[in-house]
Symmetry: none
Subunit: 192 residues, 4 copies
Amino acid sequence: MSKDKIIHAAMEVFSEHGYHRASMDEIAMRAQVAKGTLYYNFPGKAQLFKTIVKQALQDIINHTCQDLDNISISIEEQIRRIIRHNLDVILESRNVAHIIFNELSNGIEPEVLDEIKALKLEYLSFIGELLEEGKRNGYIVDVQPMIAASGIIGMLQSACNYYLSHQEQMTREELEHSLFTLITQGLLTNLE
Amino acid sequence: MSKDKIIHAAMEVFSEHGYHRASMDEIAMRAQVAKGTLYYNFPGKAQLFKTIVKQALQDIINHTCQDLDNISISIEEQIRRIIRHNLDVILESRNVAHIIFNELSNGIEPEVLDEIKALKLEYLSFIGELLEEGKRNGYIVDVQPMIAASGIIGMLQSACNYYLSHQEQMTREELEHSLFTLITQGLLTNLE
Amino acid sequence: MSKDKIIHAAMEVFSEHGYHRASMDEIAMRAQVAKGTLYYNFPGKAQLFKTIVKQALQDIINHTCQDLDNISISIEEQIRRIIRHNLDVILESRNVAHIIFNELSNGIEPEVLDEIKALKLEYLSFIGELLEEGKRNGYIVDVQPMIAASGIIGMLQSACNYYLSHQEQMTREELEHSLFTLITQGLLTNLE
Amino acid sequence: MSKDKIIHAAMEVFSEHGYHRASMDEIAMRAQVAKGTLYYNFPGKAQLFKTIVKQALQDIINHTCQDLDNISISIEEQIRRIIRHNLDVILESRNVAHIIFNELSNGIEPEVLDEIKALKLEYLSFIGELLEEGKRNGYIVDVQPMIAASGIIGMLQSACNYYLSHQEQMTREELEHSLFTLITQGLLTNLE
DNA sequence: CATGAATGAGAGTTCATTCAT
DNA sequence: CATGAATGAACTCTCATTCAT
């Protein structure tokens, strides 16, 4: 199927160059289809991008949901798993994640941008609700849940960025451990 | 001075459209100079961008340094001030910050990109060293300091993004409080 | 029959957008057939267009012939009927007529264009011969019959164009009356 | 000046191919400037086209005005001059005139199209007013002046089209004479 | 010091046409 | 008899950059 080849190629190219520098020519070339085929399958660049982002976000949500909904696990373990899933996604398809969480700035067709933002918000809300519930049960400190959710996602993304450029300084386990500690306990020790 | 007008205009335009969508034409127009003048004062778009970023990052570092170096203050207060300073910068010139911390992906001339990344790293190192020292003194938990530094900056940026789109849901004080709590204490309560 | 549906749809689309802006995609869509079916039934866009024009011109000729050949009527009445028939065609399917009489400029495959021009000439000749005969019988003034024929057709088309954009200024009867007066008597009064 | 070269080349290319088939590439080539230069001097194809048409129409109006306003001449002579001027324009730059009077169909940017239509209407109004005045003075028959004006222009254009394809059949003088007769006296002789 | 006309490579998009089914 | 996925050439337009002044 051309469509699949295009999506796959587009993911690569968008990841490597970001939205604006990604060219339909290169996507077509990598997908080994003619440029016209892109436009036969997708209305335009923005919509192709949207498709990519939508799918990636949906994948994250699905994976995380699946893993958390199974059995009732402790809040601590839930957080650990959310962190691990996000790291997986970010580290595997690093730039797709980067695009989703960061490069949704300006210059993309507003309608498409709005849709993507809504999708992203959905994901944040999913985490936000988890935190909200934890708060009600007294497991989670008193913070604005959505601020915490978006803050944590930003932290993971940003830390991964650093990690990817300095892999010689630490292992993935150390990364994960540091982030888990930071997110659950915060910076400060409980010294009296 | 043309140079100052250009820098000011460039900051605006890069902020509004991001690096790729910002056009030299618009920068020249806003600076009220001819297009050629841009190239008389700067070698090219990438270098102009670098200048902007450099200055912005330097400003953040200077401000923060100045505020922290004065007197010896508690680590808690230091963190609070770092958070406040970053929020100030991010919320005031939101998009410049967004560019610095996020849009440094691909498609920018590598040499320039590397310089900017180095600059960013410098800033992270500054925070990282603060944490390192806190760690040695036992005030800061055992996490990779640079991971923590980049994670925290990402958290602030990301949370601000959310805040800026949902200002009706909370005040700036609540934002700051949530972030401070999150960063110092983490998510979990200390229930036995 | 697919062919009929296509012709009908093509007439609509060519009328609405003109030859160049009419797309085979839209014709296929409106005809509710697949795009390939167009090429199964017609060699290409130009030939499809030719078919439309041919049919439309044939219709005008037939209608007019039929109405004039029946009985022997005065030259005045013949002219009145020619005007009326043309107005009917032009005002009903305004844009098909517009295409036939005007948009046969350039950019259409020469072979097809030539055929269409021949068809148009045939129609003009039909009117030209009527005038020629009137001239021989002394009813018609001494003008080049073909110039008169093409001039009259152009006048009708152009006046209709104006009428269609300014229908509030006059009725169809007034339009017809003005044109009849103009064509039979000319502009000038017979003042001594 | 690039601008003049472009306008000149554009006039040629639009004339030869009509609006839709005229390509910016060809205009640039003929003007011997780079493609970008077109867009440096004109916002886009439609506006370039508008400039051409505007200038051509203005020329016709100016020429005709100048010739008629000088001295008070008989209505008959006025008509003769209008016919002659139009024939001059149509026969000299045949296709520009064709574009102006006919090809303003669909598929051109609406705003530009509207401006051109307004310009064309201005020209028609100029003739329409002449006829109106003649009517008040009893020199011109009782017809809707604007219908007559647009009809006459259409007649000239259409007759010229025929003439240009059949120049071997008649001279320019015969063409002009036929049209003058047709327009002033109409088709019918004044036989009792 | 500064200008702005000119450039040209490259972008996204359209669309008549083909062909295996 | 009909399909529709696939094509690729051609299109309009953008924009960082150059250079004569």
